[in-house]
Amino acid sequence: MKELIDEKGLRIDGRRVDELRPLKIEVGVLKNADGSSYIEMGKNKIVVAVYGPKEVHPKHQALPDRSVLRCRYHMAPFSTDTRKPPQPSRREIEISKVIREALEPALMLEEYPRTAIDVYLEVLQADGGSRCAGITASAVALADAGISMRDMVVACAAGKASGQVVIDLNDVEDKEGEADMPIAIMPNLNQLTLFQLDGILTPEEFEKAFEMAINACRAIYNAQRKALMDKYFGKAEVGEE
């Protein structure tokens, strides 16, 4: 098995076990969308566009009492090291569903009856943890579109590599490591909206990984909030008026 953590306790990309990858979030990057955002989380690069609320086509999908949320997670053919066929794979369809279900609890869909809200996530470059980065960016794009939200949604993964609990796994750690656990939370309401676990953790490791992931989510939430503040209120005036 590949050694993922060296004798100094550093990971293959030089991070400590509890260190996040460099994060950058931008808001309103696409002119034609109602809301949009761009996220760079390590080597992940994802653009998210939100359209809506708008009329539902096909009409039979419309719900009389609330809006329907539709998500499309898609990886560009050039996003991986070997070309990925452009048609949606089984994996992408599943991740689209998982992302939709992670965002739905935060949105006040009952405010927009008989409409649809579309969220398109386009992964330009993938490096492990793209669903988490995608959820984080989608929440920002939805806020940019002005859709009523109970709270933001932030996601981050924790896992286990070379016997140690690590945070924010990259591609290699995800593939070679022992466990990967992406979670998404609503930070102010303190609720969990996504919870997956691939691999095996002992109860103690799980407790530790879960706590680390929650703390990481809170750090990412601050970046989300700052990105929105910068866009809407200008860099100089972040915080109170």
Partner: protein, 228 residues
């Protein structure tokens, strides 16, 4: 003046704790108030509200809107009002109760592509909005230039008791007709239209700043000086 506390908020942010009334764009969980949109939160003795800085146009009864006729049937027109719903304008409301599709053609009044200034007379969650063009100033728009802004920023463009609109109108010799749905019509001389468009775009980009009317006034007077 009653005391009003203001702050910038993002969705999910805690605005205040205590016994307040929630007015708009706020959710209440056990006496804690959270914002649901990006915007300016206002805490006063009346309650808590968030003035959104972005968002779609959701029709309300009595709103005046500018819309475009996109289709018609035997009894009504379908109007695009820059919202998630198409609005209907019934032929009975335009031609009178006696209207019969065999005697009169809807095309006589409005054809596809026409812009109209209309009032929302009925809307609820279950049906699409219904418009009316009976009233002073309502009906087909014959001329002018259309500018679109974010519907959330229309109140800012109008200003307190219409102060912002009056400022722009008097400085540019134009007449501004604002639709609550974010579509603004400017009628006047060509250079006035250009200047008014710039001023409107400025209002849109600086909507969150205090003292906006003053900024616009100085922008307009500076332009005037350059011209003369």
């Amino acid at each position: 003046m009653p005391e009003v506390e203001r702050k910038y908020v993002t969705p999910g942010e805690l605005i205040a704790e205590g016994n307040y009334k929630s007015i708009s764009n706020v959710i209440r969980i056990n006496n804690r108030f959270y914002a649901t949109k990006v915007g300016l939160a206002e805490i006063s003795h009346e309650g808590i509200r968030v003035i959104p800085l972005t968002g779609p146009y959701i029709p309300r009864v009595d709103d005046l809107v500018i819309g475009k006729i996109v289709d018609f049937s035997a009894f009504s027109w379908e109007v695009d009002i820059n919202s998630c719903f198409f609005a209907y304008l019934s032929a009975q409301g335009v031609f009178g109760k006696e209207f019969s599709p065999d005697r009169e053609s809807l095309l006589k009044k409005f054809s596809i592509g026409d812009l109209i200034y209309a009032k929302v007379i009925a809307y609820d969650r279950t049906r699409n909005p219904l418009l009316s063009v009976s009233g002073p100033g309502l009906g087909r728009i014959p001329k002018g230039e259309v500018v679109r802004i974010s519907p959330a920023k229309v109140p800012r463009l109008i200003g307190k008791k219409g102060s912002m609109i009056k400022t722009i109108e008097s400085a540019t010799n134009c007449k501004l007709i604002t639709g609550q749905n974010g579509i603004i019509l400017i009628v006047g001389p060509p250079d006035g239209i250009l200047l008014a468009t710039q001023a409107i775009k400025m209002v849109e980009s600086e909507a969150h700043l205090a003292g906006l009317t003053k900024n616009i006034q100085s922008f307009l007077s500076k332009y005037k000086e350059e011209q003369s």
